[in-house]
Symmetry: C2
């Protein structure tokens, strides 16, 4: 066949394409759920194992504060002094959990870009707290900075397929915990009005951050009316221990009635069994412990089912984020979250590649696609992350945006109707011109049926050779630099002066209007 056929209607198609208002083929929150790695019987057994672990083994390193909150309500200490959750208590709690939450966008994005985390709505989310930033010019990693957080955020502000901001990198240049957290929040909220997720280093930072959220949202009390940020951390250190700081964050968040965000990452073979089923059972147990505690504090408070099982390369004992095993167990953990009808998140797109090469693409697409089709509400770590979560890259961020768009198109699925089946159109084309390139049906559907990539090369081979043999990395660099050289938002607007009066803001207001280092 002639695969490069181009007969007829080209001018009409280009005109139709030019008339498009943007990417009409996809949107945020498309539904997944058509991929089910676990059978119903598998899920029932994993659930049963998790309840056994919670009732018998329980968790260590609880605090007195936690005991005071949950022991009177049915949790128990076992013979090892570990905090256990009896089966009947768990079954009771699980019947009353929240199945949804919203995270709101701010400003012009309010309403339009809100996230509704429920059922199998899929959103692509930045997060990762990497400690280095990849520098394309030198092909090396340098410690990440506060400025990077602002730069990553304003870049993402221009990328349609990354729906939620996150603290992709740490500000390693800000060592004081309070200053770090307040400046991280500032950099995120100044750089974009998309919904955000992040973590704090100490519970005492929460009220200060809420004060800043208010200033970003229109004044005192505005944040609680339409929360635009969810926060949390890793309250559990696998296997089955509490981590004090993040546990305290969770307790305070639950008391406020805000969304409890989590990440529970037991690592198969290292901090969980080498078998994927065992790691999943442990991850479910550890996550359900957080669900239980939150709901014992504030019944019905929304909690993210954030079982994020990770994989270990057992040759070295190191975390590996890009494997088939990771893709599989991530999808399975989402399915377990849906088993409980809880809003879900999972880590995916966590490649081990150190730069955006073929490995990067293979590992990103495999892990993101399976998590998306499993129907995870928030697919975290997708944007820009590489090097087994050790680094983040501007070039990778724009690549991942386009990759998420491709995955989103597969989520949307195939609409089957008389109009789309087009039996008459087929009849007319087959008995008539023998092609569809210029007909009205093609022009009517070409903008809504297809995602047109910006970075993915579709040129002829000879054109590609003539035009410099670029790889995706080179094209991504051009795109990211163009955005970073032109888009310098500060969405605090008139409230910026107040923020700077109230908080030790380190980003210079003038420097924020120029590229980093300029």
């Amino acid at each position: 066949m002639d695969r490069r056929s181009n007969r007829g209607g080209r001018a009409a198609r280009l005109a139709a394409r030019a008339s498009s208002t943007g990417n009409e083929a996809i949107r945020a929150g498309l539904a997944g759920g058509r991929y089910k790695p676990l059978t119903d019987a598998d899920m029932a057994r994993i659930h049963d194992a998790a309840l056994t672990i919670l009732a018998r083994t329980g968790l260590s390193d609880h605090t007195q504060e936690l005991c005071d909150l949950v022991l009177p309500k049915g949790a128990e200490l076992n013979e090892f002094g570990r905090l256990c959750f009896p089966r009947a208590l768990m079954e009771d709690l699980l019947s009353g959990t929240a199945s949804e939450y919203y995270v709101h966008a701010r400003g012009d994005r309010a309403g339009r870009d809100d996230m509704h985390c429920t059922a199998q709505n899929v959103y692509f989310v930045n997060s990762g707290t990497a400690v280095t930033t990849y520098e394309a010019e030198s092909q090396s990693y340098r410690p990440s900075t506060l400025r990077d957080i602002y730069d990553f955020t304003r870049l993402v502000d221009r990328l349609d397929n990354i729906h939620m901001l996150g603290d992709t990198v740490l500000a390693t240049d800000v060592t004081d915990d309070y200053r770090h957290d307040m400046n991280m929040v500032y950099a995120l909220l100044a750089g974009s009005q998309k919904p955000a997720c992040l973590t704090f280093r100490h519970r005492s930072h929460i009220p200060h951050a809420i004060r800043m959220f208010d200033l970003a949202s229109g004044g005192e009390g505005s944040f609680m009316k339409a929360p635009s940020v969810v926060f949390g951390g890793c309250p559990v250190v696998s296997p089955l221990r509490f981590g004090r700081e993040n546990l305290e964050l969770m307790i305070d968040t639950a008391k406020l009635g805000l969304v409890i965000d989590l990440a529970v990452p037991p690592q198969a073979g290292a901090t969980a069994p080498a078998t994927l089923a065992g790691t999943l059972a442990q991850a479910v147990a550890e996550t359900l412990a957080c669900v239980a505690i939150s709901n014992l504090i504030t019944p019905g408070v929304p909690v993210t089912f954030a079982a994020w099982p990770f994989i270990t390369d057992l040759r070295t004992g190191s975390f590996t984020g890009g494997s088939g095993e990771q893709a599989l167990i991530g999808a399975a953990s989402i399915q377990m979250g849906k088993f409980y009808n809880l809003p879900t998140s999972v880590g995916c797109g966590m490649t081990d590649a150190k730069l955006p090469d073929a490995q990067y693409g293979l590992e990103k697409a495999l892990t993101i696609a399976l998590a998306a089709h499993a129907g995870g509400n928030r697919l975290c770590e997708v944007g820009g992350m590489l090097g087994s979560l050790m680094g983040c890259s501007f070039e990778s961020m724009v690549i991942d945006d386009e990759a998420c768009g491709m995955v989103a198109r597969t989520l949307r699925g195939i609409e089957v109707s008389d109009e789309t089946l087009a039996v008459d159109v087929i009849h007319e084309s087959a008995t008539g011109p023998g092609h569809f390139l210029g007909n009205a049906h093609t022009l009517d559907h070409m903008n809504t049926e297809f995602v047109y990539p910006d970075l993915m090369d579709r040129e002829r081979t000879d054109t590609w050779e003539r035009e410099g043999k670029t790889d995706l990395m080179a094209r991504a660099r051009e795109k990211s630099q163009a955005i970073l050289g032109a888009h310098f938002p500060n969405y605090f607007g008139a409230a910026d002066a107040q923020v700077r009066a109230d908080f030790p803001i380190l980003l210079d207001a003038d420097a924020m209007k120029r590229p980093a280092g300029a």
Copy 2:
């Protein structure tokens, strides 16, 4: 958390790993089918549309020979003189089709590496008939040669996750059709004893090829006893026209009672409607026409349901192989094949990238993963293909082998049992050492639970920087060159002299023992 934790048991794990006999975590023919892009109602409507197209619109460019074979058995000519298949005839035929076939391996591989194409068994298959070969050194494409076919084949002979050989490239240096086809067959069968699929340029080549298949399989009549090659082509030129040469191939293959292999690639928006549902309906109709003809000639003859809908970038009218739309419609077409309980194949891994970069990885993984999880029996075009099927690359072949291994691991799924749930192991580790790195359960399962990559980098970032900052392409080049520099099989063995006596073999026997050009 400490993501790079490495406490305990490393020596024991390395010893366990060294004792492994190979890749114990995956095998050929793992079952897909857990991803279902279409609902049952969607499938019923697409089926109905396809039967309407076959009954009303039919196909043009039929031959007298074809009419003589099928008109007496219920096919009809409509008012346009097109060959139509009435609904009742189709329903009758579809109730008697073969649901399976085997393709056998030869020599030492016989039995062990046979393919059983049925249900949702997944095999990764080479094919593509690209016209150029990518040269990594010059980063450019050159016309592919007969020697390339032998080189790609002997490379694949050493790659465990590519289960079936195919004519990945054309021998552009052999212009005579008979000489081309016989030498292509020779290069494939000399280079590996894996099952193979290929196409011929003319029906008259079939008996000659079978003579060569016999010589490769142990003598006269041996091929028909355990067919190790399936062949076919594109009998339909979309929309709804017959292509004479490939139609004739199909007729003769059906008469021999051999597996009918196909590829039916209507291109959405160009040679099929722009709507994915419409393209799918047309692809199903065109494929079922081939199923019907084959079964009218030889009832129950095995036919591959090879609806391979392709995507067009409607900005240019060009074929594009790597999009989300391609991944989605490929998976949906497999689901339609399973609707009919037919053995399936689909094209996937057809990236538009011109070299193995991040785009390559993203497009490969997305299209291969969804096709695999849809349960396609033969995932064709996966190995080494790039540049929208215009080229094939040795480096890409070894990358794709490893990518297929990753996808295969996701297909295998998660085994849930008391042993794998490991509730007691979790209890002992949580109340004991606090990790699982050295325990017996980890050592017992580490070889069967995980695929250990060869090319995918999992080093620490600083190690990667120190060791030369290689990308996957560089590592793939090293691996492919190592195999190509050492493995020079000729599986015709003692029969080679007879083959050379009977056929115009162009590959020099001595040159076949050296690297190309050496």
